[in-house]
Amino acid sequence: MLTNVARRLLNMMVTLLGVSLIVFLVLRLLPGNAVTAQMGVSAGLLSHAQIVALDHYYGVGKPFFEQYGSWLGSLFTGNLGVSLSSRTSVASLIGTALPVTLELAIASLLIGELIGVLFGVFGALRPRHAVDDIGQGVAVIGLGVPSFVIGTALVTVMASVFQYFPSSEGFANLFQDPWLNLQQIFFPALTLGLGIGAAIMRTTRAAMLEVTGLNYARTARGKGLSKRSVTWKHLFLGALVPVTTMSGIQLGYLLGGTVVVEQIFVLPGLGRLLITSINNRDFPVVQSVILIFAAGFVVVNMLTDVLYTVIDPRTRA
């Protein structure tokens, strides 16, 4: 068990190292110089010595592996570099944005699991029943309608019909103004939750239908157990592995989705930071934010793997 976890951790480190290399490589494809590019026309007024000095300060223009190495080295010390556009440290920018995205992701996952599991379980118990039909309808909307359409429509309807737009007051901290904060998080979380809820619903429904016919389920019913006990303790637990897998996969979409939804609902999270930095060609921020998203995804995937051994004792090797 312990060697298993150690092996997973090592695997995870290797994957993250590769991810950092990919991110770094991709952003180095860029023609031109990020430092002078963000100065606009005034870059033309710089003398050669000034350009060299600037490049030296921001560390651009060095050989590829030297740049990568120094970036990687500074990652371990928690120093993510200096933002080219705001000239504050990247770490402090991320520090303020990360909690927002984290809260959004957790709220979305909760809503998604709630929608997905409830509709999935009840749909599987009574296929073609009204609840099942509603669930299927929600699934089609969740899968087919992009989050930017749902989000845009929500904002438009709320703002124009109900004159309600909680984000206009500036983002409220969860601990200072929980009521306003929850209002600001709920609608973006609902937007994302619908999308992941749809996928989770379909998986739950299919997995439940698969186990209802199995012997142990029939035995449980034959023993005269209550319907609720059979549903949740036998069927749902039996279906939990695919549901967990799907939830892990959906988290990847969720992290990508926060970029879009934060943009629509004006939440000052990592996704918004990413888009702003892309528009400002602020690469120290872009590469760090993408790396953090990837790290989050990798860590969650590892936790999902560990969860299997909790859910399904057979996978404990």
């Binding site: 590769g18 991810v19 087919g144």
Partner: protein, 297 residues
Amino acid sequence: MALAEPSLAIPGLESPRRRSLLASLWANPSGRVGCVLAGIVVLAAISGAVGLTPYPAQSQNPVATLRAPSFAHLLGTDQFGRDMFSLVLQGLYVSLKISCVAVAIAGVLGTLGGIVAGYSGRWVSAVIMRATDMLFAIPAILLALAIVTALGAGWFNSALAIGIGYIPIFVRVVRGPVLALREAGYVRAGRVLGFSPARLLFRHILPNVAGIVAVQTSLALAWAVLAEATLSFLGLGPPAPTASLGEMVYNSTSQSLAATAWWTLAGPSLAVVIAVIGFNFLGDGLRDAIDPRGRTR
């Protein structure tokens, strides 16, 4: 089964194997819906491509700005008096062009990677799968964002970015069955007969994963349309004046048109939704048609 005489066959009761793929696709509810919707989308895109639109897509009409949908303008007009329906048709063409190229990139590279990873020995397989894991660890839309940022906006760069993000899924989906097929009797027989690995892979194994690839291609198209619209919604799509559905949605909100002129939001959104649902259903239907046991519903 092979012994059954033709005369013993019950009339009207054909074995499902006999039915062509298209027929069983049509017999399947999601397959049928998928066929119809995807067909509509493809036709709309073609008419957008050849300029078969009610109005020239980009022509502005200052006296007919922000008109509500009517018979003259099926989806209304935008703030420049451009016909939304014509713009949507052109946007669908651009979207489908990008998506098809993206899926071609992902499909060819991913299938190749999956086949090689499934068939070859431990080391090659481990290298490919590890690289796939690394690519997969970056949420696909973020990878696409990074690539477009680096390469600059443009339709081919969008396609490349979206395609690269989808490669890992093809690799994973193809590799599993190839692992099983490697030990199949006819493949082992081929190996004994001294067939080259290339011949075994492309003549014997590839045809047997073609169904899986077809299903994944359809699902990938749905994802690509979604990703393209998302990129252009975030302002990273092909630059204007190329019509793009995501950018049209963005314009509708950024200009605060959506509240008063709802059709500027509804038209392009509806086009994306129909395309995404259509290709998703087509993929589901194809899966059921190819493997009736693996039914999801």
